[in-house]
Amino acid sequence: MKLLIIIPAYNERENIERVVDNLIQNYPQFSYVVVNDGSKDDTAAICRKRGYNLIDLPVNLGLAGGFQAGMLYAEKHGFDYAIQYDADGQHRAEFIEPMLNECEKGFDIVIGSRFVSKKKPLSMRMLGSRMLSAAIRLTTFRKIKDPTSGMRVYNRRMIRLFAHHTNLSPEPDSVAYMIKSGAKVSEVQVEMDERIAGVSYLNIPRSMFYMLRMVISILFIQVFRSPVRLKDIRPEEKG
């Protein structure tokens, strides 16, 4: 059982040390890799100074490209599981273990969900989440309670798939596509913190465009895509 924590970081100089130091000190049983996505600030310099395990992308590729670099690393080094973990401190490390335990039961993707046993608040922020849940339910007949959660554990065949596929990004539409392809997806209750420092990438117009993109992708594109034949994926032998 080997888990890689993939930490995509873009301009996270204020958060990266706190987040990674917490993982190193309190969770030494897990491996991690920071993917610096061409940050304009000194995120990479901080990581190098502190001796972190770092993939330093020379240009900005966006979250999908950065995460994929982490998945390629996971595949190359023969990890069994990989988790996406935010560099801004929103994800809490104590929930990695229960998510991993769930994934070991034979699930392909385990989502760290805020709303398994808790109710989704009726706010504007959660309207988008509700729309995505409805779209996924409509196309896959599965209820995903927290589709926008970025905290997801992937197993070995998912690592192999996500590392090489052009159109698989760590987003809700890929989760829908994977469900449609027959992947087993589960949700585990987690709590998330508000971002402590720095600014969020998502402002109101950006998040509206993001929701529109996701809904169109789930309703009109993923439905027509031919499913991935998961049974054909053979993880390469180590070494």
Partner: protein
């Protein structure tokens, strides 16, 4: 709008849609880039099924025939798209430039290290 134009529009937009979906399933187009074309062909299908929409726009803008409105509308959309593509190409070029410079400089260091050792 004439019936022939309507039929041509419907057939063309449906074909466009099917072609795009096929290319996406072959992983040749990124979904982000395909969304423009899919939304575009949906709009075309809607316009060809309900020609009242362009007619209504014509009355509103004082344009004589719906076909003229369609030309204006399409050319405008394509201009915006072209401008957007120009930005994308520029960004891509500077990224490729940055990458090759970085690659070349990194390899220079490696060679220096090799010569140091010998």
């Amino acid at each position: 709008m004439s019936d022939t134009l309507r039929i041509v529009l419907i057939v063309a937009s449906v074909l466009c849609l099917l072609y795009m979906l096929r290319k996406i399933s072959q992983s040749k187009v990124r979904i982000d880039d395909a969304i423009f074309w899919i939304v575009g062909s949906f709009v075309l299908v809607i316009i060809s099924i309900f020609p009242q929409i362009p007619s209504w726009c014509c009355d509103l803008l004082g344009i004589q025939t719906p076909v003229n409105f369609l030309f204006l509308f399409m050319i405008f959309i394509l201009l915006v798209k072209l401008f957007y593509m120009t930005i994308r190409v520029s960004q891509l070029e500077s990224k490729v430039k940055e990458l090759s410079q970085r690659y070349a400089l990194d390899h220079m260091d490696e060679k220096e290290e090799e010569t140091d050792e010998t």
